[in-house]
Amino acid sequence: MLLATVGIWPAGYALNLALTSFGGAFTGFANFAKTYNQGFLIPAFEHVGEFMLIWLTALIVIVIGLSLVMHTLSRRVSAPFRLLFYIPAAFAGSASVLVWLFMLQPGMSPWDFVLQILGAHTLGDSLASGDLPIVYALIAFWTGAGGWILVIHGALTNIPADVLEAAALDGAGPWQTALRIKLPLIKKWIVYMLIVAFAGGTQLFAEPQLISQASQRLVDPLWSPNTLATYLAFQYDNFNYAAAIAIDLLVLALVCAGLLVFRTGLFKAD
């Protein structure tokens, strides 16, 4: 029984944190309204929305596409590819951003010819404000896609062989098998991937913070809700506004978590 109460600790801890930050915001609900009226928050959410559109589309098209392609190979042949796609995950956090700053620096980048075609002659050209969602999605994709490929490929390999055999006997070609048999069978995992990626995407921080820093703040330091909140907290000492934004984001995350727990049936809680 004593041990069981230890279980309360992690859950209770998280709850406590949410409440303490509420304490900061309790001086009035007005903090929430104010953050909306200041004119920073809406653009920040819009930026993240643009990023998310690219990032989630890339996940759907490229991750699922690559997983389906690899599923037509034997496990042994596709294993080195899966590992290769997954290794960049080790650079999550700040390392991947620094790597990609080098990748986006014309003259130094192995992708120099691509940058030249796109008309980028300086790092600043690569980081023009319209390109930022693409740049962040690129970094997120490089570090994050491999992990999702493992999950989707894993889900595909769990499809019983006789189902695929039956499809082949019924005359389904590889395209039909992929689109009509395999995809519907792994729908649950695709939804799971999208919700989790969405929840993670709202939390974008390292990329906009570091790239703004690397550009001497010429790139908007208030780009995402999290960079905005930290800016308010540390540059203006306005911890109440920061808390209000943190709660906004936490509610979003909670909604996503709730959807996963109560709608997907992937988690066992009995």
Partner: protein
Amino acid sequence: MRPINISLRIDVSITPQTGSPRRLLAWGARRLVLWCVLALAAIFFAVPFVWLLLESTRTGQDSLVGHPLGFGSFHQILLNWQVLFSGFVGQTATWIANSALYSGAGVLIAVVLGIPAGYGLAAFEFIGRRPLLIATIIAMLIPTNALVLPLVLEAHTLKVLSSPLAVILPYGLFPFGVYIAYLYFDTPRIHRLLASARMDGCNEWQAFRAVALPLSTPVIGLVVVLDFIASWTNYFLPWAMYWAFDQTGRYPVTLGIAQQLMAGPTYGGYLLRDLQLHTSAPPSVEALLILVSCAPVIIVLVIAQRWIVSGRTQGVFM
């Protein structure tokens, strides 16, 4: 002994269905496209990594004039290594030690608290068990970044900002460990074993200590691997705790890397389109810094890939 795995999977698209030349041609074309797609993806994912490896063999001069994917010399790695730890790029050794301390201590807490908690949830019926479980699952599904700001605000009021505990305790909060331990212990096999242990006169502590704990090594391994990777690569939390307060001595490697981007021109009227990348050290040394700081995670990823997949499919994300 390893079980022998005989795969009888019949793959409909590997072999052409009939031998007619047109079919064969279509099959060949499909294969070609398939391999092209894979090759393109492989290039995208591999090039930055290959660049890091090659760059670390070069001199500052090579990086300026040579081909971006040129090779320098093996000897230069040694020289770059000396620069890396000379204090020129910062307190490299301290950063690595800090990362090891934070993630090590965090993992320890996650195991010591998470395994018994999961066991408690699985072994006992008590009021509030289900809500507790749901809370645990929700806590593990919330992105780690979502708790950073609330944590900073709390640390601010508790005055533990800029102490190592400010990141170690949150790293120790690993609800996935509780959940995976619960899943593992809540199986008929474990329940039967526990029941017979109690029948033989074990008290609850002994049942846990002598029966459940020795069986839980796979779960402990999973928690160690996943929490280690999540903690080592975390950027936002240490940033919020240490960066804003200039606690350079407390930086983990992720912040050390961030610090490389400090140098650069700051004169007025500087335009974005003139911007070039400025780092404290030559790119070759920075590349080596990135490789060295990520090496522990790369090693763990390669060794424990299978575990990581099973973790990801059950709700933990890095």
